[in-house]
Symmetry: C2
């Protein structure tokens, strides 16, 4: 990848993240982004077809870091059979905390909806085998609720309560959910 491309892409991401903390996603125009990034109009469209694609790309960047890092360290340390589900959850929280700066704005307004949808897709894979099967509750529902609750936990944590440690948040979460 050309050095200029990397630079421009980074400028756009940074500008976008910064703008999200001041302005709602819907209200934000492409004009705002290219003004903030100080790049030409055609340059933006050379990188991203639309504002939604930009959001998607940013989300993927974050999730690649959080989840592929998780899997990597899992393989590296051969956690797959040693670490508990609780540890994996704590692990994910650590990685999310590292990306805190980029993530915080993503919770706001309408793009929070999109970000959380993507997040839940990844979480489904992690949670799927760890739901305690109860015959009196539909598995679909239990999984959906567990994943959504964890996503909400992350949101609550990173929006104003990031002084708690990942270990603490994991403990709180498991304390409140009775199907894990």
């Amino acid at each position: 990848m050309d050095r200029r491309q990397r630079r421009t892409r980074s400028l756009i991401f940074t500008a976008f993240s910064a703008l999200l903390e001041r302005k709602s996603y819907t209200a934000m125009t492409v004009q705002d982004i290219i003004d903030e990034a100080d790049i030409g109009r055609s340059t933006f469209y050379a990188h991203f077809e639309t504002k939604d694609e930009l959001l998607k790309a940013l989300c993927n960047d974050i999730f690649d870091h959080v989840f592929s890092a998780e899997i990597m360290s899992e393989e590296k340390h051969d956690f797959s059979h040693h670490s508990s589900f609780r540890d994996r959850i704590t692990h994910i929280l650590y990685h999310l905390q590292e990306k805190q700066q980029s993530i915080r704005g993503l919770f706001n307004g309408e793009c929070g909806e999109i970000f959380l949808r993507y997040l839940k897709e990844y979480l489904c894979q992690v949670f799927n085998e760890h739901i305690t099967i109860k015959d009196d509750v539909p598995h679909d529902y239990a999984l959906d609720l567990a994943v959504s609750s964890f996503a909400e936990t992350v949101r609550w944590w990173l929006k104003g309560h990031s002084d708690y440690t990942p270990e603490q948040m994991t403990a709180y979460f498991f304390r409140c959910i009775s199907i894990l």
Copy 2:
């Protein structure tokens, strides 16, 4: 209120709800709404300053029905000291089910974010005193998680699983959350 105003307002609401099932909120333009409702442009703006105000008004209409009806019947039957928290939850589900038609579209995309935020505000009042206080979990967090989980339960229920009864959903919900 003038009969013509009621008619127009109703036309707008109906058109808006119908459109939400086919089109995302963000992609929807005021032009789409007035075409669907078959009213003049200036007429729309005489009723609502913006698309967001329309959404807000629709949400308020729904919540007024769901929660004020709940409170009313509570007062009428003097449920306040007799009915359990579980019954109140079931009750709310019944009222939400009645408004199912209008609500379904509201879960989609970005306006789902807004609708759920409003819903959670109301739910906070209902849930606040019924959270089991645990010293090892922040009360803020427990309340937020319970409310969000219930909101997610409603979403899951009304989006493709509305064959379950309110009583069943209440049971499932309480089965999964250990702080109520």
